[in-house]
C-alpha cells in the first residue's frame, strides 16, 4: 500500500469511528434537577476519530510488515523445504529434556522447603488441568476432532464417583474404572451423532453436548441434587487407612500406620501424588497408543478421512474410539476431582472449563506433552498469583488465542515425532 492509500484507508476508518462515536460519545445526559438534559461532547468524538485514524495507520503498517515477513519466510521455506521449523525444534527438545525434568520436579515438590499446604494444593489443581489437557489432546491433537464439550466427561466422571459412593458405598479405587467407563460411554454417545461433522460444526455440537450434560445435572434434582450438588463425598483413604486424627473404630489411621504425628497435610500430599500418578498414566498411555494401529489411524484420519476409507480403515469406529478414550481420561480426572473436593455441583462444569482445557491444548501445541504442562501451569497459576488479574483473565485468554491462531495455529510448541522409524536393513 502506498502512502495515499494508507491515509485514505485510515480516514475511512476514522469516519466510521466518528459515526459510531456520535451517538455513543457525542451526547451525555445530565441531571438538571427535573427531566434529564442532554449536553454535547463533540470534542470526544473528534478525539475518538483521531485515535482511530492514528491507530489504523499504525495497525496497517504493522500488518503489512508482518505479511512481508511471512512472505519472506515462505519464500525461504520454498527454497529449502527440508528446513525444520524452529518452534517445532524447541518443542521436540522440550519433550525430550524438559518433560523428564518437570516430572522429577513434580515428584519431589511436596518435600521442598517452600511446599506448604497452599503450594501443594495449587500444584494439584495444575496437575488436574495437565491431565485434562493430555486427555483432550487425544481427541483434538491426535484425532483432529475439535471438542468444545470436554468438561461434560469430567462431570460424568465426578458424578459417577459421587453417586456410586453415595448409593453403593464404592471407594475411590473401585469407582475409578467405572467412572472412566461411564465417561467413555458418554464419549461414544456424543460420537455417534457427530460422526459426519468436521471442524466448526463438530465444535458447535460438542459445545451443545457439554451444555446439555450440565443442564441435566442442574435439573435432574432427584439424582444429582440439582444446583445444590452432592456434598459429603467420601475423602480418599490411603488404601483403606483413613487420613484422620481419630479414625473410626476398627480402622488404623494413616499416621498411626507410619508411626508419625497426625497432620492434615498428609491427605493433601496423598491427593497430589494420586493426580500425579493419574496424569503420568495418561501421558504414558498416549505415548504408547500413538504407536499402535489405532493411534496411527487417528492421525491418518486427521490428515485425510477419504484416503483412510480407501485403505479399509473404518472411520466410524476409529473416531468413536478416539472420543471414548479421550472421554475416559476426562472421567478419571472427574473422579479424582470429586474425591478431592468432597463436594460437586454443576457450577464446576461450565463451558469456561472446556474453553480453558482447549486453550491449554491449543496454546501448548498439539502433540507437545511439555507444552501442555507449561500452558496448564500458566493458565491456572496466573489468575492465582495475580488476583486482580482474574478480572482480565478471559480478555487475556482471548487475546492470546487470537495471537496464537494468527502466528502459529498448530500451537506454540507443536511438533510431531514419527511413531516408527525405518531401521537400516539387518539392524534390529
Amino acid at each position: 500500500m502506498n502512502a495515499v492509500a494508507r491515509v485514505k484507508d485510515a480516514a475511512l476508518a476514522a469516519l466510521v469511528a466518528a459515526v459510531l462515536a456520535l451517538p455513543l460519545l457525542g451526547f451525555a445526559t445530565i441531571d438538571t434537577g427535573g427531566p434529564l438534559g442532554i449536553s454535547t461532547r463533540f470534542d470526544y468524538v473528534a478525539y475518538a476519530a483521531l485515535a482511530v485514524f492514528v491507530g489504523r495507520l499504525v495497525f496497517m503498517a504493522l500488518v503489512d510488515l508482518w505479511r512481508e515477513r511471512q512472505m519472506d519466510s515462505a519464500r525461504e521455506a520454498a527454497h529449502d523445504p527440508g528446513k525444520p521449523d524452529r518452534m517445532a525444534q524447541i518443542g521436540k527438545l522440550a519433550d525430550r529434556w524438559l518433560l523428564p525434568l518437570m516430572i522429577g520436579f513434580a515428584i519431589v515438590l511436596p518435600f521442598l522447603p517452600f511446599a506448604d499446604r497452599t503450594v501443594v494444593d495449587l500444584a494439584t489443581v495444575v496437575l488436574i488441568y495437565v491431565m485434562l489437557g493430555w486427555g483432550l489432546n487425544i481427541v483434538v491433537g491426535l484425532a483432529g476432532l475439535l471438542d468444545l464439550g470436554y468438561v461434560a466427561f469430567y462431570a460424568v466422571g465426578a458424578y459417577s464417583y459421587a453417586l456410586l459412593q453415595m448409593h453403593f458405598g464404592f471407594g475411590f479405587w473401585e469407582a475409578l474404572p467405572l467412572a472412566g467407563l461411564f465417561a467413555a460411554f458418554f464419549g461414544v454417545l456424543l460420537g455417534f451423532p457427530v460422526l459426519r461433522l468436521r471442524g466448526d460444526y463438530l465444535a458447535i455440537v460438542t459445545l451443545g453436548f457439554g451444555e446439555i450434560v450440565r443442564i441435566i445435572l442442574l435439573n435432574w434434582q432427584k439424582v444429582t441434587g440439582g444446583p445444590a450438588g452432592i456434598s459429603g463425598i467420601q475423602r480418599p483413604s490411603f488404601f483403606g487407612f483413613p487420613f484422620s486424627a481419630d479414625p473410626p473404630a476398627g480402622k488404623t489411621a494413616f499416621h498411626d500406620l507410619l508411626g508419625i504425628e497426625y497432620s492434615s497435610i498428609h491427605r493433601i500430599i496423598f491427593l497430589y501424588y494420586l493426580i500425579l500418578l493419574l496424569a503420568l498414566i495418561t501421558s504414558l498411555f498416549t505415548a504408547r497408543i500413538r504407536r499402535l494401529p489405532v493411534g496411527r489411524a487417528w492421525e491418518a484420519l486427521r490428515e485425510d478421512e477419504i484416503a483412510c476409507k480407501a485403505l479399509g480403515i473404518n472411520p466410524t469406529n476409529t473416531k468413536l474410539t478416539a472420543f471414548a478414550i479421550g472421554a475416559m481420561f476426562g472421567g478419571f480426572a472427574g473422579c479424582f476431582f470429586a474425591t478431592r473436593q468432597g463436594f460437586i455441583s454443576p457450577e464446576s462444569f461450565t463451558f469456561i472449563e472446556s474453553a480453558v482445557i482447549l486453550a491449554i491444548v491449543v496454546l501448548g501445541g498439539m502433540g507437545s506433552q511439555a507444552g501442555i504442562v507449561l500452558a496448564a501451569t500458566l493458565l491456572t497459576l496466573l489468575p492465582e498469583i495475580a488476583r486482580e488479574f482474574a478480572l482480565f483473565r478471559m480478555l487475556a485468554f482471548g487475546m492470546a488465542m487470537v495471537l496464537i491462531m494468527v502466528w502459529r495455529p498448530q500451537g506454540l510448541l507443536a511438533h510431531r515425532e514419527p511413531t516408527i522409524k525405518l531401521k537400516p536393513k539387518g539392524a534390529s
Binding site: 476409507k309 485403505l311 479399509g312 472411520p315
Partner: protein, 275 residues
Amino acid sequence: MNAPLLQVEHLTMRFGGLVAVDDVSFSAAPRQITAIIGPNGAGKTTVFNCIAGFYKPSVGRLALRRDSRQYLLERMQGHHIAHHARVARTFQNIRLFAKMTVLENLIVAQHNRLMLASGYTALGLFGWPAYRRAERDAVEKARYWLDRIDLTGVADMPAASLPYGGQRRLEIARAMCTDPVLLCLDEPAAGLNPRESHELNELLIFIRDSHDCGLLLIEHDMGVVMQISDHIVVLDYGRKISDGSPQKVRNDPAVIRAYLGDEEDGAGYKSGGAS
C-alpha cells in the same frame, strides 16, 4: 480368456439432472491393465468412485471375483470394499497423510491386519510379542515397496516433503500395501516428467506381473496408455463409445471423433498429456 476380475454392468450415476455415467458396461481381467480413457468430464473418476464405494450407483451392478467368491461392490461401504473385496485406489489429486512420514503412510495402509494382531489395541498396549512380530512384518513389507519406488532414503521424512513424483509413487505403494486384487489408479502419470513417467510404466507392469493384481487405469497420456494397457475402455459424455485392444481403439472412428471433435479444431488430444 479367464473369468473377469471385475464386471461392471449397466453402471449409471446421476447427480440430480446430470448423468455423469450412462449405462456403462465393461470388464477388467485379472493380471491385466485395463485403461479407461476419455476427454475431461467424461465420467472416468465417477466410475472409480462407484467401484471404490465412494458413490452409490444410481443403477448397475459391480461384481468383483476374488478367490472364487463374488463381492457385489454396489452394496458395500467404501472401507469394506478396500478391506474385504480388496480394491485399492489412488486419487486424481493426491491424498497422502501429509504430516505423517513416508513409512507411516505405508504402515497405516496395513491397518486392518495390524489391528487384529494388536488384539484391537488391548494386547498391543502391553507389547504382546505377536503384535511386535506383525509390526516388524509390516515394516518389511513397507521396505519392499520403498525399495521398489526408490524412496527408502526418505522413509522417515513427512510425506508432504516429497517432490510431486515421489508423492505419486508413494500413493501407489500405499495402495499396494493393502494387498489388493484390483488396483485403481486415477491419472498416475499426471504431472510427471518423461523419465518419471517411464519409471511409472515399469512399476505398473511389475505390479501386474508379479503381484497377481489387476489394474484399472485412468490416464490422459496416450503414450502411456497405448504402451502398457492390455485393454482400453473409452468414455465420452458418460457413455462408453469404444472397448477393446489398444490397436482396435486407436483406429476406432468413434474415438477419433470424440477426441478431435467433429470438424472443429479439437487440437491436441492425439498428442496426449493435455492435463
